[in-house]
């Protein structure tokens, strides 16, 4: 603890009014309004746990409100594994203060000292059987006041819900088929829209004959604005038929050339770039360099490939529009929509509804603008737009391809003297709502278009972008880390889980493994020798222990380890992989240990780590956005396969609970360590270093040929 004055958690400082977070109904319910949204990560439940705990109420009394620009706190975007950190801390502080406010009001009303009062499931009682409740007092206690810093949350020992694996609030709806997803929502009079997009990258619509589309039964309207065109019909089936007819009447230009997918590193390193030194450390007493080794690693473009295509509903009433979306940031989306529509933000209401699992900046925001544009032609009726599978796989933003070069100076004992890490990549962030130009696909397509934004990188203070996890966590004597951000962007990129973290951890941990192997040193021991942070050492030791490191060698089986601390400031995670390798690689088992500080819902953390581990395995073994020189070709699950049930490894997760440390998110911690662990296990098994992801049969053959 330090002695500086207490401050509010960031989200509470930005949205200080207590009533914007919590309201007491007269019906014994508590309404909680976080600005973060459910994207399949279980955040709604974890936040409800925190609130119920601080307020001393039953979890069943908490009603969670979905984020909306019509009144929710503005918490920016649900990303970066920050929801527990930002929303959770704000809710804990707000509820601790609210609890105190009510205790004082109750003391006043009951004529007893506040210190003598207890709260049990919202009933506030004291000596002599006097009692009242939040709900009795709600009419007299105004929460329309700003939070004050320094509210004291419950001591850890008194927390009854936070830290417990309570069942998620949204799961019953999902197993019983209740309408919870935006895809399943129906509004009265709702029409269905489909947008027509070109196959060739950034092709321009040079001519359009729409008579065949108009002839489709159920047709309502065609909407065209420059290169943006779509149809509205009275049913999805009609909309599908009409957009198919519209496509036949469209004449597109050739489009913009795409790079050679088989020469990604060459492409990335040949582009104009903006170069930034991310970090440098020098040593007054460097060791003597005996030799220098250099390796290059690449990862391909990776698709979000959510199970559901993006979907949105929009309805115009006069000059105002209401939008339902599975966007990660309702306020940010609203800001960009206002830019595209050239209307004040006050005219736009954006409300969140759940979509399929979201792993970053996918096409949700683009689909929302599509719906808003098409709904202009709907005469005030709501229009639901759902993308096709092919559009979802080809037109949404992708995780950026990366080329990473690491060079190490080694002394005569193969100890690391100096370390140089350089990244070539498109930016990993082009999220809406943060600039003066909109970052929405249709905004680039309309007749009066906005310039197509080139992705940027968040600063290191926010975890960095391409450079995320590029600064060594190990105590090397000196290093230099440099990032080269591309100033061209033939393939559209934005934030995908971990941003550059997966690529950088893959490169660093693979390279370390190679140096350890050259030294004949155990890779776990090697890492521990270079780490002082006890939390880091603990997760590595825990994962190694889970895996019984290092299991005896067996023919055809290999073991590898990987470690990272997400963003260098977030969750710690270590992974051990067991793989079976011959012509192909099968990942049989993953053991992971993680430390997120206080795990609000340990089962939720475990679920996120396991899910991240399995998704990372899919990325590593199978995933690569495919394209020829004209268009993205991986437009279906056949061309963009992901891990199947039979291919899924067994996963064991240990969550190291540290209730005394502020919590951080778990959603992105596993990808880097798992990627590295698999690659290192491949070397252990086959004696070959695969430095280009994904590790397919072709990549194995290429790596063997190169070595």
């Amino acid at each position: 603890m330090n002695s500086t004055a207490p401050t509010l958690p960031v989200s509470l400082a930005a949205n200080p009014k207590l009533s914007s977070w919590v309201k007491f109904g007269s019906d014994g319910q508590v309404t909680l309004s976080p600005g973060k949204v459910e994207i399949g990560q279980g955040i709604v439940t974890a936040l409800a746990q925190i609130a119920a705990d601080e307020l001393d109420i039953d979890l069943a009394r908490v009603r969670m409100v979905r984020a909306t620009t019509a009144g929710s706190p503005n918490e920016g975007v649900t990303s970066g594994s920050l929801s527990i950190q930002q929303s959770g801390r704000a809710i804990r502080a707000a509820c601790a203060e609210i609890r105190q406010i009510f205790l004082l009001a109750a003391a006043d009303k009951l004529g007893v000292n506040a210190g003598a009062l207890d709260i049990e499931d919202g009933t506030i009682s004291g000596p002599g059987n006097v009692s009242t409740s939040y709900w009795e007092l709600a009419g007299e206690v105004s929460l329309d006041r700003d939070a004050t810093p320094g509210a004291t949350a419950k001591p850890i020992a008194k927390r009854a819900l936070a830290g417990q694996p309570v069942q998620r609030l949204d799961i019953p709806d999902k197993v019983f088929g209740h309408r919870r997803f935006i895809h399943d929502m129906a509004l009265p009079g709702m029409l269905h829209g489909r947008v027509m997009r070109p196959e060739n990258s950034q092709a321009k619509l040079q001519g359009l004959r729409d008579d065949a589309a108009r002839a489709v039964p159920g047709f309502v309207a065609v909407f065209r604005d420059g290169n943006f065109a779509g149809v509205i019909c009275d049913s999805e089936a009609s909309a599908d038929a009409a957009v198919t007819a519209l496509r036949k009447g469209a004449n597109w230009s050739a489009g913009e050339a795409l790079p050679d997918e088989n020469k990604l590193a060459d492409f990335l390193k040949a582009q104009p770039v903006e170069s930034t030194v991310i970090d440098a450390r020098t040593s007054a007493n460097p060791g003597k360099t005996a030799r220098t080794i250099k390796r290059q690693y690449t990862r391909p473009y990776i698709a979000h490939a959510a199970m559901a295509p993006s979907c949105a509903i929009a309805q115009w009433t006069g000059e105002n529009v209401h939008v339902w979306t599975h966007s990660q940031g309702v306020y940010l989306l609203r800001a960009d929509m206002a830019l595209v529509l050239r209307i004040p933000v006050e005219n736009i209401t954006v409300e969140h509804l759940e979509g399929a699992g979201c792993y970053g900046h996918n096409a949700a925001d683009d689909a929302a603008l599509d719906a808003v544009l098409l709904a202009k032609a709907a005469g005030g009726k709501p229009v639901r737009v759902q993308w096709t599978r092919a559009d979802e796989m080809t037109h949404g933003p992708f995780g950026a391809a990366m080329a990473i070069e690491i060079e190490a100076d080694l002394d005569a004992n193969n100890e690391i003297v100096a370390w140089r890490h350089a990244i070539w990549s498109n930016g990993h962030a082009a999220r809406p709502g943060r600039g003066t130009k909109p970052m929405l696909l249709a905004g680039y397509e309309i007749a009066d278009p906005f310039p197509r934004a080139i992705s940027g990188n968040p600063p290191q203070a926010n975890g960095g972008g391409a450079d995320r996890n590029s600064i060594p966590l190990y105590d090397f004597p000196s290093w230099k880390v440099e990032s080269h951000r591309l100033l061209t962007m033939p393939v559209r990129t934005s934030a995908l889980r971990t941003l550059g973290g997966q690529g950088n951890a893959f490169a660093i941990e693979s390279f370390l493994d190679e140096i350890a192997a050259e030294r004949g040193e155990d890779p776990v021991a090697f890492r521990l020798r270079h780490l002082k942070d006890e939390r880091a050492r603990d997760v590595i030791r825990a994962a190694a222990k889970l895996a019984n490191w290092k299991p005896a060698a067996k023919p055809g089986i290999g073991y590898g380890v990987g470690y990272s601390r997400y963003k260098n400031t977030g969750a710690y995670c270590a992974a051990v992989a067991e793989i079976e390798g011959d012509e192909d690689i099968r990942v049989r088992k993953l053991w992971l240990a993680t430390d997120v500080g206080e795990a609000i819902n340990p089962d939720g953390v475990s679920n996120q780590i396991e899910g991240g581990a399995i998704q990372a395995t899919s990325w590593v073994l199978k995933e690569r956005v495919r394209f020829d020189r004209e268009r993205i070709t991986s437009s279906s699950w056949t061309e963009y396969p992901i891990l199947t049930f039979s291919e899924t490894p067994q996963v064991e997760v240990q969550v190291i609970q540290r209730s005394e440390i502020d919590p951080v998110g778990a959603g992105e911690a596993a990808h880097g360590p798992v990627t590295a662990a698999i690659a290192n296990a491949v070397f252990d098994c086959l004696g070959v270093r695969v430095r280009n992801l994904p590790i397919t049969r072709d990549a194995l053959i290429a790596a063997m040929a190169a070595s």
């Binding site: 399949g40 019953p172 088929g177 895809h183 999805e236 399929a356 899924t648």
Partner: protein
């Protein structure tokens, strides 16, 4: 327009529609049955699985005519909050999902599997679910939930 008759979750149902239209489109668009989800429209992801007879099929690429006079069961017909199917109980107990969009189809695949093979091994379950994709990485929890339901059904 010809009419096609089938039983939907036990109820006699008659639809006047082009018999070549996908069953999923009829279920969701005409009948308001949103349990089965659209994922790809090409029979590749399994989010739209429904049970026809005793087999799970992809309703997004099954024409309406193919279910004429047959029994079609969707997630809505599997069980309810009041009377849950053992699989639904098991998915809650194992917290067997992240986003849950794929689970609508996976529950139907699993239900068909348990009808045909009440005592599946883990490998049987994985093989049966290879026609379903999950992007969030909940495969292992889902497999555990299916095995839990099988055990529960065998014990009762």
């Amino acid at each position: 327009m010809p009419s096609v008759r089938f039983r939907l979750n036990g109820a006699p149902t008659e639809v006047d529609a082009d018999p070549d239209r996908p069953l999923l489109d009829i279920l969701r668009g005409r009948l308001g049955v949103t349990g089965p989800h659209f994922g790809c429209g090409a029979g590749e992801c399994g989010a739209c699985h429904v049970i026809v007879g005793d087999r799970a099929i992809t309703s997004c690429d099954a024409p309406l005519w193919s279910v004429a006079d047959k029994d079609v069961t969707t997630l809505e017909g599997l069980g309810s909050a009041e009377k849950p199917h053992p699989l639904q109980r098991a998915f809650i107990a194992e917290q067997a999902m992240q986003c849950g969009y794929c689970v609508a189809g996976i529950l139907m695949s699993a239900a068909a599997l348990l009808k045909q093979n009440p005592k599946p091994t883990e490998t049987d379950v994985r093989t049966a679910l290879d026609r379903n994709l999950c992007r969030c990485g909940s495969q292992n929890r889902i497999v555990r939930a299916v095995l839990r339901a099988a055990n529960e059904m065998a014990a009762s």
